[in-house]
Each structure stands twice: as structure tokens, then as C-alpha cells.
Symmetry: C2
Subunit: 275 residues, 2 copies
């Protein structure tokens, strides 16, 4: 990226989609060497092939996502024996049409190659559908979908922390464990033990991906669940404390009030228009 790049915050990405399609490359087809003055994402929906980016060759297989900036030389070839199915988009990062540098994210490397989550494939399918369908507001809609996709990639990049997919997948497993077991009494040690990690390492992974400590993350998750139970059930405060993993109702009430500013009982009362 050059010094002419536009500086933006990740929150302010506003992608403009120039082209998007699902392409079926027949067996043994090659695109020839191409250079495009836009950002480009190519996702392998099915099949095998090879991609050469800036003269470096990579094997392509289902689930692989390639992302590069304007002016990157690339050539895609399908396997000789089967078709290669690609969901692709070309876009600008904003209406200024210039490459960007982020103020609050170390940025995507010139070439990103990752194994994509299922949500990313669904987003790409929707972008293709919007682009092809040309319904009213398709530009805005495809742009918002592309922004969601780029934020997921940025998140995955930060959570990977230079260690690739393993670190990201491990963090996702830890957070998922918390989200599925918050009803139980959990300690940092118990969570870490579950994954054969040192508690300090688990804490570091959680801070990287959520901005808060493991202890804080668990507490926030429990309080959010408590808010929902207060507003959508007639469970007692004691029952709710218990349901979100707090045996001690007084401790629960104290930290609830600290986080929400009001007591659990008040949350319930304030939701009603007739008090």
C-alpha cells in the first residue's frame, strides 16, 4: 500500500461493488494473467484448481478465499478433470475509489488466503444475488453485505494473530464453550483446563478477539442473558441468577447493578409504560 492511500477507520468502510458473479470454470480452463484496478475476492465454492498471485502459486480447494488489492497480477486455472466454481466480487473500498489504509486495524496483507467460514460463503452468495438481480437498492444492499464480509475477514485476521487459522479456530472454540456453559459455575482455570492451555494464554486470546478479559467476557455474557430473562419470562430474580451461573443472588444483584446501572427488579419495572 502506498502513501497515497486514503486513511479510514474500519467502521467507515463503504464498499462499492463493481461486479459480482458465480463462475463455473470448465475443466482445464485458464483465465490467463490478469491485473484489475480494484479490490477482488475469489471464493472457491467447489472443485480444485491453482491460482498464481504475483507469480506465487497456491492450490485452490473448496472453502478457500483469496483477497487482494488493486493492481495484483493473478491467474486462475481449473483442475483438468473437474469444473472449478468461484464466487467472485470486484469492489472499491469507498466512493473515493482509492485504496485505503486503516487507522484502527493493521490492515489486510497485500494478499490474504484463508479458509472461510460458512457465513462468508452465504454473504458472497447474497452479494452475487443482489448484483445479478438489480432490484431497487441493490448497490446499497450489496455494499452493506460486502462491509459485513470485510469486517469478518478483519476479525479473523486479528484473531489469528499471525498464527493462521489455528489460533482463530481455537479462540472461537473457547468463546463457544463459554456461550454454551455460562449456566455452570465456571472459573478461568476450569475453562483453560478444558483446552489444555494456561489460563493466561486463554485470557490473552479472549482479550485479542473481544477487547475484554475472560472474566469480564463471561460476566458480560451472563448479564446479557439475565436482561433477556428479566424481560421475557416471569422467573424470579433468584431463578434468573441461578440460570445464568450465579449461585449467590446478592453477588448477582451487585454485579448486575454495576454493569447495568439499575437493579434487576428496576429493569423489569422500567420496561413497563404503566408503572
Amino acid at each position: 500500500m502506498s502513501c497515497n492511500d486514503v486513511l479510514v477507520s474500519v467502521a467507515d468502510i463503504a464498499p462499492v461493488i463493481l461486479r459480482s458473479a458465480r463462475n463455473v470454470l470448465t475443466p482445464g480452463f485458464t483465465t490467463g494473467e490478469r491485473v484489475i484496478p480494484h479490490y477482488q475476492i475469489q471464493y472457491i465454492q467447489d472443485g480444485f484448481g491453482t491460482i498464481s498471485i504475483d507469480d506465487k502459486e497456491y492450490k485452490m480447494r473448496k472453502g478457500m478465499l483469496c483477497f487482494w488489492g488493486p493492481g495484483t497480477k493473478h491467474q486462475i486455472s481449473s483442475d483438468p478433470n473437474q469444473p472449478l466454481i468461484i464466487l467472485g466480487i470486484q469492489f472499491h473500498m469507498s466512493h473515493t475509489l482509492q485504496p485505503v489504509r486503516f487507522t484502527d486495524f493493521s490492515g489486510f496483507p497485500p494478499v490474504t488466503i484463508v479458509h472461510a467460514q460458512a457465513r462468508i460463503e452465504a454473504l458472497l452468495r447474497d452479494i452475487v444475488k443482489e448484483y445479478m438481480g438489480q432490484r431497487i437498492y441493490w448497490e446499497e444492499s450489496a455494499g452493506a453485505l460486502c462491509k459485513t464480509l470485510l469486517l469478518l475477514l478483519a476479525r479473523q485476521s486479528i484473531m489469528s494473530d499471525g498464527e493462521g487459522d489455528v489460533s482463530w479456530q481455537m479462540t472461537e472454540m473457547i468463546l463457544k464453550f463459554i456461550e454454551e456453559n455460562y449456566r455452570e459455575p465456571l472459573t478461568n482455570e476450569a475453562i483453560a483446563k478444558q483446552f489444555h492451555f494456561h489460563p493466561a494464554h486463554v485470557n490473552k486470546l479472549v482479550i485479542t478477539s473481544t477487547g475484554v478479559s475472560l472474566h469480564q467476557y463471561l460476566m458480560n455474557f451472563r448479564i446479557s442473558q439475565a436482561v433477556e430473562l428479566l424481560l421475557s419470562t416471569s422467573m424470579s430474580i433468584q431463578e434468573i441468577a441461578d440460570a445464568v451461573g450465579y449461585k449467590n443472588i446478592h453477588y448477582f444483584s451487585r454485579i448486575y447493578k454495576k454493569k447495568m446501572g439499575i437493579s434487576p427488579t428496576m429493569t423489569r419495572r422500567q420496561a413497563l409504560s404503566v408503572k
Copy 2:
């Protein structure tokens, strides 16, 4: 909506999610009467119930979406015999935290009640996931997802054209028919006949939902498909013309050039970095 509303273009909606959850209301539960100073969407994922909005009562069933602005009185009750499962979000339309009025869209009525598309349920599930998971960039990501959702609702509202879901679903069927049959020689008359409509009525529906005439929509769709075939296959121009519904290669080449500014052959040549 009052005269203090902020004026924005639909493209500039930038929703801020305040709360989002999947709530399970136990059988026979009622929320009591509530008024919330934010926009709110409630989508029935499963079950039955009733909702009273500004003292008017509506039956709730799976797939139904309710959307209202700040300060709307509402009360939700689940069926006495089964739980009611709701995906809900509360949000501001922008960081200014004020209600908005649109410069380029007649706007959502004070209360919108529609049967939602499957894509809308998927978007709501992802917003809940982002809000609960609190991963880095969750605010931006949930905001972009909510924007996509609001654009789909705005589109559905415009395509319904005051005639409710029927008009929207009919237009979707017509556009889907074109997208699945563009390879065949199609005329406005043939398309209209398929749905027992007058061609002028079909044309009006297509203009409302895409901004272009039926003839233009079909042509744009065919040319987009031709671009993809030029860039991802080694088919001849004749074969491509044929594949996108044009028997006459000269006519195809002429309208291709008119729309794209360059000839089909040139599209292929210009894609290569080494010419």
C-alpha cells in the same frame, strides 16, 4: 414522524444496535405494555401469540415481522399452549440517535407488519449472534447487517406498492422467471402470458422494483451473463450470444457494445495483463 426528524438518503442509514436477542416466551406469558425510545423489530421464529401495537391487536405466527418507530406502545403475549420464539432488535437509525425521514423513499409506515423472507430471518440470527458474541467489530458488523435488513424491508415495501405481499411476491416470481429463462428467446408478451397479466402491467411491476423496463431488465441480465461467460470460459462469441438468448450474433454484439462501451472480443482481450 415529526418535523424534528433527521433527513437522510436510504443509502446513508447507519443503524446502531442497542440490544438484540432470541427470546423464548413461555406459554401464556405477557410482556405487559411497553414503550421504548428506539426503533424495534420483532420477528416470530416459531409459535403463536398476539401483539397489541398502539391498542390495535394482531395475531402473530411464524415468519411474521413487526417493525415500529420510537415511542410506540406495544404488548406481546404468547399462546397459552406453546412457547413463542422471537428474534428481536432495538436500534437507532444513525449515531445522531434521532428518528429519520428519507429523502428518496416514502418511508416505513409507523407500524410495518409483513411476512418476512428467509433472508431476513438469517440476517436477524446473525445480528443476535454478533450482539451476544461481542467479538471485535461486532457493532460495525451488526450495524451493516441491520442496514441490509432495512434495505430489504424498504424494497419489499416499494415492490408491494400499497397492495401488500401479493404484489411483491408476484414481481419476485416474474423476475425469477426471467433469471431462469433468459437463455430462451423471450418477449414481453410471452413473459406476461406466463402469469396471465397484461404486458403493460408486468412492465410496470418490473420498473417499480428495478428502475428499468422489462425489456431493459432482460437485456441487462443477458449482457451481465455474457460478460461472465467471456471471462470464465473459452466459448466463442457465437456460442455466448446463443447461451444468453440471442440467435443473431450481430445484434448481440451491437447491444453488448452499446451497454459495455467495448466489444465482446475486447472485453476478453482487456482482461489480460499481457496483450
